[in-house]
């Protein structure tokens, strides 16, 4: 980027050459006898020029500093503020979006963890119920087995009792047939009992 001042420095030789050409030509025209040199060096016009310069510059200064510059500066500042505000709003929106995304991800993670917990709890509950049922059924079956065994033992006891009384009767009958007379009932009973004991062995 060439700054205007640098541009001036570059153009200076061309301007100098141009001024030599122009002033030389001007000198030729200025040799006109009616004219008395450059009007710029006529001191009689200078006070008026300087007076109006002061008046005009003062007016311009007041208009610039009181009217033009506050409006232009205000517009430029308002624009800068608007741009900065928009940038801030964009940054805020980005932060909010980030926060929302983080919140969303956290919700998903929470939901997943919750689902896993619920799943595990359900599985645990199901297996606990199964175990409880199994135990209960086992106990019931055990009870029934025990009852059945008891009944079998009672039946066997009853059967054994019948066998003994029948054996005693048979022994008494045999005794009556073989020996004649009535056998001692108590003794027969003892002997039959002993024999049954022995027979069992």
């Amino acid at each position: 980027m060439v700054k205007p001042y640098q541009l001036f420095v570059r153009l200076a030789p061309a301007l100098a050459a141009a001024s030599v050409v122009a002033l030389t030509s001007a000198a030729g025209f200025a040799a006109d006898p009616a004219k008395k040199g450059m009007p710029q060096f006529d001191p009689t016009t200078m006070p008026s020029q300087i007076f109006w310069l002061i008046v005009c510059f003062a007016i311009l200064y007041v208009i610039m500093s009181k009217v033009v510059m506050p409006t232009l500066g205000g517009t430029i500042e308002a624009r800068a503020a608007k741009i900065q505000g928009d940038l801030d709003a964009a940054a805020k929106a980005r932060d909010e979006a980030k926060a929302a995304l983080a919140h969303y991800e956290k919700s998903i993670a929470d939901a997943r963890a919750e689902a896993q917990t619920a799943n595990r709890a359900a599985a645990d509950a199901a297996s606990a119920a199964t175990n409880a049922k199994l135990t209960e059924v086992g106990q019931r079956i055990g009870g029934e087995i025990a009852a059945a065994e008891t009944r079998i033992a009672e039946a066997r006891q009853a059967a054994m009792g019948n066998v003994r009384s029948m054996a005693v009767e048979v022994a008494q009958a045999a005794y009556a047939k073989l020996v004649g007379g009535q056998a001692d009932a108590a003794r027969v009973d003892t002997l039959v009992g002993a024999a049954l004991q022995g027979g069992r062995r």
Binding site: W52, T71, K82
Partner: protein
């Protein structure tokens, strides 16, 4: 064929209005164009400024560009201390710019082509800047005339050089603007004279040159306003911050 210097004649448009001491003050063509510059600049900048668009159009964009340019000059060359002088420097830039640009319209008068005007501005600025420097730094201000760190033995040579260069600032500032505007307008007039003199046969060559020089003169009109303002910034910076 009128003299190329005729365009610089100061013409009285009124009888002497009043006297300052023994000097009569008249309303002249120079004064008329000063008022014209103030009027055109004010109307343009007020119209452009009143739009207040967020996205500026061409008119508003141009006005804001001028504002930003002077603000940038002060920011880069003077710094924050220069903000107080922004209204003055902006007015100065606008005054010279519109004076130069109005002068580019045929048959107008260029008030910046007069040494009285440019020197009055440059000298007033020189005095004010020097006073600012003295009020801000007291006697220390005069250290401006001796570069910091130079051997003391060089003082007898350096100090006169620095003083002369300092005192020549208003002269160079005013002569630069006056000479550029005068020479440019003389050149245009002389070339235009050649076009007429060489007629329909040979006049095309100086006419082409004239078109080119006219474009260059528009550049110069802007550039001289820019340079005048930026040099004021640099001088102001010297006064505010010394070396």
């Amino acid at each position: 064929m009128a003299s190329p210097l005729e365009q610089f004649e100061i013409v009285d448009l009124s009888k002497p209005l009043f006297m300052i001491g023994k000097v009569p003050i008249t309303f002249t063509n120079s004064a008329a164009f000063m008022f014209a510059a103030v009027g055109v600049a004010s109307i343009f900048l007020i119209a452009a400024g009143s739009r207040k668009q967020l996205v500026p159009g061409r008119l508003q964009g141009l006005a804001e560009m001028l504002y930003d340019m002077v603000a940038g000059m002060i920011r880069d060359n003077v710094g924050d201390a220069g903000k107080k002088y922004f209204p003055f420097l902006f007015s100065l830039f606008i005054f010279i710019l519109f004076g130069n640009m109005l002068g580019m319209i045929p048959y107008t008068f260029t008030f910046t082509s007069h040494i009285a005007v440019t020197f009055a501005m440059a000298f007033a600025i020189f005095i004010v800047i020097t006073l600012i420097g003295i009020f801000k730094h007291g006697l220390h201000f005069f250290s401006l005339f001796f570069p910091h760190g130079a051997p003391l033995a060089t003082a007898p040579i350096l100090i006169p050089i620095e003083v002369i260069s300092y005192l020549s600032r208003p002269v160079s500032l005013s002569v630069r603007l006056f000479a550029n505007m005068t020479v440019g307008h003389v050149l245009l007039k002389v070339l235009a004279g050649f076009v007429v003199a060489l007629g329909i046969v040979g006049g095309w060559v100086p006419l082409l040159v004239l078109v080119g020089i006219t474009a260059l003169e528009f550049l110069v009109a802007f550039l001289q306003a820019y340079i005048f303002t930026i040099l004021c910034c640099i001088y102001l910076n010297d006064a505010l911050h010394l070396h």
